[in-house]
Amino acid sequence: MMNVNRYVLSRSLHFGQRLVSRSTRRAATDAERLQQRRSIRTQSRNLAYAKDLFLGQVNKAEVFPYPEIGNEEVEEINQLVAPVEKFFSEEVDSAKIDREAKIPEETLNGLKELGLFGIMVPEEYGGLGLSNTVYARLAEITSLDGSIAVTLAAHQAIGLKGILIAGNEAQKQKYLPKLASGEHIAAFCLTEPGSGSDAASITTRATLSEDGKHYLINGSKFWISNGDMADVMTVFARTEVVVDGVKKDKISAFIVERDKLGIRGRLAFSACEVSFDNVPVPVENVIGEVGGGFKVAMNILNSGRFSMGSSSAGMIKKLIELTSEYAATRKQFNKSLGEFGMIQEKFALMSINAFVMESMAYLTAGMMDRPGLPDCSLEAAMVKVFSSEGGWICTSEALQILGGLGYTKNYPYERYVRDCRILPIFEGTNEILRMYIALTGMQYAGKVLTGKIKEMKKGNIGLALGMVGKKLRASFGSSADLGLTGKDGVVHPSLAQSAKKFEQNVDLFGSTVESLLYRYGKTLVDEQLILKRVADVLINLYAMTAVLSRSSRSISIGLRNHDHEVLLTNTFCSDAFFKNNYWMTQLQKHSPENNDANIKKIAREVLENRAYVCSHPLERTF
């Protein structure tokens, strides 16, 4: 149902409206629009929370206090959320959509009327012009139906995103208004039958016609969400570009209109194959520069994966409601289901997961809404990995609570489980994202480290002494103090213990990363199992940051039920602390906990055999 696609959310269209109080909204939006246009091209990252963790540092100014939104925006959200929620609970029949594999026309019209097709399109182009934070809030509701979530995401998170972030003014004027109103639906055509993340295997080709006015596109694209109903598509194809006098094949992005080509929608819904046979596209429909498609694609993909955090959280919160109702009423052995420990554990798991995902998603969204368009792709990728895996586990545990009933089609659980299964796959598989997370950080830490080494070689004794001193201090077992608690602390004292654990983890992580860099150098790229653990530790660290920051704020401003948040935070932090310690122990040299060599060997033997290797246990030799 939720077919493979990548959906990415809009980078940012607004200032974080939280800390800055503004008298008029309109004036600000104009200013930031200008700023946005400028900063697309400069991929500067002036925000480096996650990267700094690789150095064993906590850049606490970035994540404390937890981002807030202004009162006006809260009102705006409340105005928006209520009708959307009403629409989803009353007018959307998810079971029917699932059964028929098609979103009914009237449901689509309802979504269009609510403006959900242009949440992040600026108001001057007819959209709602909302921030990432509000987008995340709406995603919580739209995720209740997988098909609608995918359609919306494919439309605005990736489909029209190219035009939004890299298109010129004429393209925006021409396409955005109709896209924002939902009159036209957008699709994103990158994946090909033989090409996923590997740009080199893209075979679709665009050749300039003889008169030089058109590009002719040939090839086929696969797994295109909205492919069957899209009117405007962002298509990536190879073009011949002359670089330094040498002809090279580079990828370019094109806007292709549906009525100009013969698209065969092959699958009934959402995902389908789109093939191009000499489709003419005018030269002015190139997004960005010719040959600059790779950057455009990467920006679209990287920019927003964060909303999956709030979507998954929305789904889990809904499931908790449904299953707790059942667990409280169903009786076995004169006890209600909720009195059994193993059932209780499932509820705790679901709440903790929902809480962590939510915290991470809104922390990231808040970061993205800050002025200056910070690059939060690393954080967004972490949110995506954590929430897609957590969502999968939680939905299947929810189903488990109902037992056999949950498995039947009479209840929505199996649909949720099915829909959640796609989450770890699309938008960049979790494996690939882990590589991205670990390698980006490693590259950053490696640069800092080699810089230090160079300094020392030049004879900077102070630096060398400082490093030796740090090592000595660590070997004498002084506990790490990164200043989260105590004087100038940013974490509430009731979370001090969790904060200490977090600090200890961060400190150890920094030295682990350093030793990994010394040990493997640039060959670290090939050590996927190590990188996986590095990424997992970092995801946990970021999750700990998010919950610490959020609960500290909740306690401080006295939000309702903040004691429950403290409970969840402490539980999650101590759990994550032990997991992190274990993973980092595995990362030590000659660690007996580390089974990587064996794992590789098993896989190699299985793959050589291309089957399960062992003999059957019932076989005999004599």
Binding site: L190, S197, D198, A199, A200, K250, I251, F294, A297, M298, L301, G428, I432, L433, M435, Y436, L439, T440, M442, Q443, G446, K447, L449, T450, I453, L517, Y518, R519, Y520, G521, K522, T523, L524, V525, K589, R610, S615, T621, F622
Partner: protein, 446 residues
């Protein structure tokens, strides 16, 4: 003299039915009358059986003659063999021996003779036959009854014979079964040498049964094309490799009445080899080399390879790193740090650059004309072969590849039939000598 004896023994064989009955009667009599004496007699020592201690009145005339020596047992087999050598006849011989004499006189000699004859009868890999042979030993007689007997080598000749039998099984790779064990226990007791041998076999055989990761089936395919297919997949050891039969063996008669036999041409090539060949520099020649031998059990087949010389270092082009290759994560780390010495896990092996092998083939006739056919067949998948010069570097090794049966029907229409025949000779010879060997040794013993 020889023919006379044969005559006599033939007669004996026809009389077997009657004579065994009489032997059985005598045996019953004997047992009833003086069983104790007989046992004592058996216990009396290993040296005795050689001396022919059997009282003449218990044996009829024919048997006496046969039991006189080892030659007699050999003869027994020879006689039957004259008709046809099969498992049935072998069993018949064993039956004759068993029914002949209830005391199984000369059974050690008989078993030795039988063991030697087994390959001739084609039963050397038949467990049932081995068990039958073991059954020839009298039961319970050789089981030690007290600690002194147990301490010393009790009935060494019999035990040795039992061990020899198990040894032959071992050599042919036959695993004993439960019946063997029961027989051994009945004959030699729980702790005799043959039992030890049995235990050792049962310890090692199961362990070694699957030790070869590339087992060769017991029965190789008869059809030369199937055999070539099997051997080529075995050498290539690549699951993706595709076997192509470029030409099936067939016999045609031309208009002039001349018979033409086309040899089979079977080739193998994997997709990665196709890829490798496509990248080959067309200015550098390719070589067809061979024949190289491949042994499959006792069969030898020959194959040819298409290969090139290793690319010289100056022509090697490393693919430039494309930073715009992966959409999701960096494929390389831009760092000055290399792997630490302590984490260097690669071995320091002297790297010899060998030339790539692009394809392999097997054919019924290793002639350039035939191999050319293979190359042109390969051209379908590898168009580059049309531009690359291909050199044939063929050894003058055996050209006839599929044994005598295949070559007999072969009539080459080319210019050098004489040469063909010469080539065939060395291939046939070893087979002949192999067959000849046992016969000559027999004759010598006679």
């Amino acid at each position: 003299m020889k023919s006379a004896r044969c005559l006599l023994q033939l007669q004996c064989l026809t009389l077997v039915g009657q004579s065994t009955r009489s032997a059985a009667q005598y045996g019953a009599l004997l047992r009833a009358a003086s069983s104790r004496r007989v046992f004592r007699h058996f216990h009396s020592g290993p040296a005795r059986p050689k001396e022919q201690p059997i009282p003449a009145e218990f044996v009829n005339g024919d048997d006496k003659k046969r039991d006189r020596s080892l030659v007699a047992h050999d003869d027994l087999f020879e006689r039957v063999a004259r008709e046809v050598k099969t498992k049935a006849t072998f069993n018949k011989v064993v039956d004759v021996f068993i029914k002949n004499d209830v005391r199984r006189r000369g059974h050690v000699e008989f078993i030795y003779a039988a063991l030697k004859k087994m390959p001739e009868f084609g039963v050397e890999r038949d467990l049932v036959v081995y068990n039958r042979l073991l059954d020839v030993f009298p039961k319970e007689v050789f089981v030690p009854r007290n600690f002194i007997q147990r301490m010393f080598n009790h009935y060494p000749r019999q035990q040795e014979c039992g061990v020899q039998l198990l040894e032959q099984m071992e050599n042919y790779g036959i695993m004993p079964n439960m019946e063997t064990k029961v027989l051994l226990v009945q004959i030699f007791g729980e702790k005799g040498h043959p039992m030890r041998k049995f235990q050792r076999i049962m310890y090692w055989f199961p362990k070694f049964k699957h030790v070869n990761p590339f087992p060769v089936p017991k029965h190789l395919p008869e059809d030369p094309v199937d055999l070539a297919r099997f051997s080529l997949t075995r050498i290539a050891n690549d699951r993706d490799a595709k076997v192509t039969v470029h030409q099936l063996p067939c016999t045609d008669v031309t208009e002039s009445g001349e018979q033409i036999t086309l040899p089979h041409v079977v080739g193998i090539q994997s997709p990665s080899q196709v890829e490798l060949l496509a990248k080959h520099n067309p200015n550098r020649p390719l070589f067809v080399e061979g024949p190289f031998p491949l042994w499959l059990r006792s069969k030898c087949v020959y194959y040819y390879v298409l290969r090139a010389d290793p690319t010289p270092p100056e022509e090697k082009v490393e693919e430039p790193f494309d930073p715009e290759r992966c959409l999701d994560y960096p494929l390389q780390l831009d760092l000055d740090l290399d792997r630490d010495l302590g984490d260097e896990e690669s071995f320091d092996v002297e790297d010899l650059d060998e030339g790539p092998v692009f394809a392999m083939c097997m054919t019924g006739l290793g002639e350039q004309a035939v191999l050319n056919q293979w190359i042109s067949g390969l051209q379908e998948d590898n168009p580059i072969l049309g531009q690359v010069p291909t050199l044939f570097r063929l050894d003058a090794g055996p050209r006839e590849l599929q044994g005598a049966t295949d070559t007999e029907s072969f009539h080459h229409h080319g210019p050098e039939p004489e040469y063909q025949k010469e080539e065939r000779q060395p291939q046939e010879e070893p087979e002949v000598t192999l067959e000849e060997e046992p016969r000559t040794s027999q004759r010598m013993k006679r």
